[in-house]
């Protein structure tokens, strides 16, 4: 039985398409970098209005998420993600994309279980584990250093 399993695993390994790792990495670098440059521009705009770097980061996130949602709605962001993988997905615009894309697709299932639930297909796990990690890290830092 075991050798069957191994053979099968070997076979699937061979049949699986090889991922073009280097090419993917280069495109992810360029696209991800460019999105961050846009973010820097937006942040620069808010700092020009007299905000400090820290104050400017929240409105920058809001604008970038809005852009991500808009471009996803227009169907452009999915194309960016298709070509650049994590270059489009990791920036916060990609987080917006991961919410809008499934919500749009499953609108036929209704406003509650279609749109409402699918908005959190990816954002749900990110929030659950992000919030948990932040709380654990914050508590540990408080315990260890005495300063939060």
């Amino acid at each position: 039985m075991d050798s069957d399993k191994q053979q099968y695993q070997q076979m699937t390994q061979e049949m699986m398409p090889k991922r073009p790792v280097l090419r993917n990495a280069v495109i992810a670098f360029v696209v991800g970098g460019l999105i961050c440059v846009v973010g820097q521009g937006v942040q620069g705009f808010f700092m020009h209005q007299g905000m400090t770097t820290k104050e400017a980061s929240a409105p920058t996130a809001v604008v970038m998420i809005g852009l991500g949602a808009l471009l996803t709605g227009l169907g452009w962001y999915d194309r960016i993600v298709k070509h650049s993988g994590m270059g489009g997905t990791l920036p916060i615009t990609g987080f917006a994309n991961s919410m809008v894309a499934p919500a749009m697709e499953f609108r036929t299932e209704g406003l509650v279980m279609g749109v409402g639930a699918r908005l959190f297909t990816v954002a749900g796990p990110v929030l659950v584990y992000g919030m948990t990690a932040a709380m654990v890290v914050g508590a540990l830092r408080w315990l260890i250093t005495g300063v939060a």
Partner: protein, 116 residues
Amino acid sequence: MIFVWAFVVGGLMCVLAQLVMDWFRMTPGQVLVVFVVAGAVLGGLGIYGKLVDFAGAGASVPLPGFGYTMVEGIGQAVKQKGALGLFTGGLTAASGGIKAAVIFGLVAALIFKPKS
């Protein structure tokens, strides 16, 4: 100069995410979870804050910046409110982004039709 570092650091973070996805054959959602947790851990160690000072949006726009923001918020809230801050600080700091994501996400999903 901040634009150059934003490009380089933000780009490199996306490369790292892409390599993690390709090597460990993860789904995009799994990679995002790993990176938001990593951002929280690096934030707690004081490393991510330095990266944000250095690379600006190159560090705050990628998703680990979200984990970092929540840890920083918890730190501030604990200083003011003690243990309650562990519960309120993270979401307070991240509230703008989360609310924007829900509202813009809902509106976009209602206005636009999916392109096949």
